[in-house]
């Protein structure tokens, strides 16, 4: 961090630090400490002056009175003092301590000097209580008042009492008072120093903490900013001084900030941002009103970057919510869901288990899955199940008959999936069962309904069919021509009704999805022949010219013969029905890989263009057939399209009204797709 280096200044010691502090608006906030430091500085200066003057006085005294012992003694002591002073300075790198030592030594010299009877020096030393007052009164102004007062008093006492204050010899008086003062000064120095040490600790904290520390006034102007702020705002701590906190806060949070200044000691969380990089940070800020000097309020704003914490919290919350959602979903799913260990012992069972089996999760957990509700199934079923899920580690599904707690049997569609760990070993099995008893019952009911309806509808039709047949055949006596004609109408009408019933049944089977596609190896050509043979009478009646064009390479295919018959019947009978007399109908069978193509062409009435899109819809009949033919059911094309598409084929047509139609059916050469179902469709 570029700016960091700028701020990672060595702790400034002694007077230097004091000056550094003096420069900083920080001193507003630490008013008391700053005052003390000022005093200390002043004290030191005064004291130094006094001490120097005293020393010079001692020297002068020694020289004037030619007292060589005193001279040598004071010189040597002074030399030792300087030496110690330097030593202390280099060892502790602390000017304050060094100065203390220096001053102490100088004081000793003065003390000794007073022993040699110098009233002048004693008088000088009398001024020493001044710092004492400053320290204990903790107020400069009061000190200025009380110190001179006390000097005066002391002076008066000494002057009036002459040489007998404490001791009879005035020299001893001076010495004793000086000693007391010396002790006091040491005491003062000790306290001031301790204070300074404390202050330096706090400053170090502010300097090196990753937390953000700001002193500001009530308008948000920064008076001091800890260097840690530089990490966020591209300014050095010094550059931040004088700027407004509001500059670094998003507009939406400005009010919050304002409120915090009004009502401090409240925590606020807001978004700060770096104007240069655009980066935003979520800050957790605490406000404290630390000082209220006469002019302005000073706030300590301490903060912490909680961007990461917030994002972790969000992620954690999200993960928790997801898990909770997931758990709720599983818990409340209507399906029966169990999670088991690799041995099949149930670890978890949802509500569905209880709803379906009747066993509560308490009863189920710890037992082998299925032990409570499985009806004995064939041994092979279980062998296959365990082989699939445990050895092959694959998904297993199947229908199974189970038993509820109350003894009732139900059919379940069960699926079991193994959950593998990173080594590919089974960690869990997840078993899901759905109660399909009702679906099965509905299916059965549907099938039975179709079956019964077909039976009930067909019974009266059979009677009409057989009786009219007997009448027509003359089995109960010969009919007149007119009678025969009329009975024939009854017979034909009935036949149409039979066709319609059969078609409707086919449609219902297609729509219920109950019809089966059962492909077997089939000769398609033979099927075509059977159908053509059936339709010969109709062709003859309408004098249709029928042409068949079969390629030689038609293979035997896997198709459902019944469905194939229905396809041929519908396409060919339509072609015959809707082609005018003496028209032409052509059946083409050919292979066009990958399909077998069945084409039925006619020269019939065609399908009107605007109705072509609807011809495969159920019960649809084109306008132009209503007039010429009333027999159609409108179901044939719908049925064959369903059949063809459900067996993976396709059907299309080209038609011009008045010219004829060509239907093209494609059935994949690989055969029809098998479809399990309960019912086949019946050819009409």
């Amino acid at each position: 961090m570029v700016l960091g280096t700028k701020n990672s200044a060595k702790p400034v010691s002694g007077l230097g630090r004091l000056f550094a502090l003096k420069k900083s608006p920080f001193h507003f906030a630490v008013e008391r400490d700053i005052y003390l430091n000022k005093i200390r500085s002043l004290f030191l200066q005064i004291y130094s002056v006094f001490a120097s003057v005293s020393y010079i006085a001692i020297l002068l005294e020694a020289i004037r009175n030619t007292r060589p012992t005193l001279l040598i003694w004071s010189f040597s002591v002074f030399a030792v003092a300087i030496l110690v002073n330097l030593l202390v300075y280099y060892k502790r790198k602390n000017l304050a301590s060094a100065s203390n030592v220096l001053l102490t030594v100088i004081f000793l010299v003065i003390l000794v000097g007073t022993f040699y009877e110098s009233p002048l020096l004693g008088g000088v030393i009398w001024f020493m209580p001044f710092p004492l007052y400053i320290f204990f009164l903790k107020d400069l102004r009061q000190s200025f008042f009380w110190a001179p007062v006390s000097f005066f008093l002391m002076f008066v006492i000494v002057a009036v009492s002459g040489k007998e204050i404490f001791f009879t010899n005035s020299v001893y008086n001076y010495a004793f008072v000086s000693f007391l003062i010396f002790l006091s000064v040491q005491l003062i120095l000790f306290f001031i120093d301790r204070r300074t040490e404390d202050l330096s600790k706090y400053e170090l904290i502010a300097r090196y903490t990753s937390d953000l520390i700001v002193f500001s006034n009530e308008h948000g102007d920064i008076l001091y900013a800890s260097p840690s702020l530089a990490e966020y705002f591209e300014y050095s701590a010094d550059e931040l001084t004088g700027k407004s906190i509001y500059e670094f806060v998003k507009q939406k949070d400005a009010l919050k900030l304002k409120a915090a200044f009004k009502n401090p000691s409240k925590k606020i969380i807001l978004e700060a941002y770096n104007k240069v990089t655009g980066a935003t940070f979520v800050m957790d800020l605490t406000f404290r009103l630390v000082a209220t000097p006469d002019i302005q309020k000073i706030y300590l704003v301490s903060g912490r970057d909680i961007t990461k914490r917030i994002s972790y919290e969000k992620e954690l919350q999200k993960a928790y919510d997801e898990t909770k959602k997931f758990k709720l979903a599983v818990e409340n799913a209507s399906d029966h869901i169990v999670i088991t260990d690799p041995e099949g012992i149930v670890l978890f069972a949802n509500k569905g288990v209880e709803n379906i089996t009747g066993y509560s999760p308490k009863e189920v957990i710890g037992t082998k899955a299925g032990k409570l509700w499985s009806k004995p199934m064939p041994h092979e079923y279980y062998v296959k199940l365990w082989d699939t899920i445990k050895s092959k580690k694959k998904f297993f599904s199947g229908e199974i008959t189970n038993k509820r707690k109350n003894g009732e049997e139900y059919i379940a569609f069960t699926s079991i999936s193994p959950v593998l760990d990173q080594q590919g070993r089974v960690s869990f099995f997840i078993g899901i069962e759905r109660d399909i008893t009702k679906e099965k019952q509905i299916d059965k009911a549907k099938t039975e309904f179709v079956s019964l309806a077909s039976h009930q509808l067909r019974t009266p039709l059979s009677a009409i069919n057989w009786y009219s047949e007997m009448l027509l055949a003359g089995d109960v006596g010969k009919l007149s021509k007119k009678q025969k004609e009329f009975v024939q109408e009854v017979y034909d009408g009935n036949q149409r009704m039979v066709d319609l019933v059969n078609s409707l049944l086919n449609v219902s089977r297609l729509e219920l999805g109950t019809f089966a596609v059962e492909p077997v190896k089939t000769n398609i050509e033979k099927i075509a022949k059977v159908v053509i043979k059936e339709l010969r009478p109709a062709m003859k009646e309408r004098k249709i010219i029928f042409k068949q064009d079969t390629a030689r390479n038609i293979p035997e295919m896997m198709v459902d013969p019944k469905l194939t018959i229905i396809i041929f019947q519908n396409l060919l009978s339509n072609a015959i029905k809707y082609t005018p007399e003496k028209g032409k109908v052509t059946l083409i069978l050919k292979v066009k890989k990958p399909d077998l193509i069945i084409e039925v062409k006619d020269t019939g009435i065609g399908i009107p263009r605007h109705e072509q899109s609807k011809i495969f819809t159920k019960l649809f009949r084109a306008e132009n057939v209503h007039t010429s033919d009333t027999e159609g059911t409108g179901l044939g094309l719908y049925i064959i399209k369903s059949i063809i598409e459900q067996s993976n084929g396709s059907i299309s047509f080209v038609s011009t009204e008045g010219n004829g139609t060509t239907f093209t059916v494609k059935i994949p050469l690989k055969g029809m797709k098998e479809k399990a179902g309960t019912k086949g469709l019946n050819p009409s």
Partner: protein
């Protein structure tokens, strides 16, 4: 040649009547039972050459009759004549021993007579 005996088990009177008429005319001796139980009693009591069996009937249905015949080891050939036409019905009937299966509405009386004649000749 001795006339062949045909048992018609059919609950629908109209159908039984016309069937009997046709088969009689075709030269068979026919007997009509109007439900499954009655039919089963006839089968036990008398010997028939062929049985034409309906499926949906009161008391005992055609499947029941087929099952009973199968259990009792009755060897008389049985043709099912029914208006049930689902593939599963045909399959069940054949599994229970029916020789053939006709859907009444889709089959002409003449065809039935022909099939029976052919089968018994």
């Amino acid at each position: 040649m001795k006339k062949k005996r045909v048992l018609i088990v059919e609950d629908e009177e109209a159908l039984a009547k016309v069937l009997k008429y046709k088969l009689d005319a075709a030269g068979f001796i026919t007997h009509v039972a109007t439900n499954g139980e009655e039919g089963l009693a006839c089968i036990k009591k008398e010997q028939y050459d062929i049985i034409l069996l309906d499926l949906v009937m009161p008391t005992l249905d055609g499947f029941g009759v087929l099952e009973a015949c199968k259990d009792a080891g009755v060897t008389t050939p049985i043709f099912v004549l029914s208006n049930l036409g689902q593939a599963s019905d045909v399959k069940t009937a054949k599994e229970l021993g029916a020789k053939d299966f006709f859907i009444k509405s889709d089959t002409q009386l003449t065809d039935i007579a022909k099939k029976v004649t052919k089968f018994l000749s």
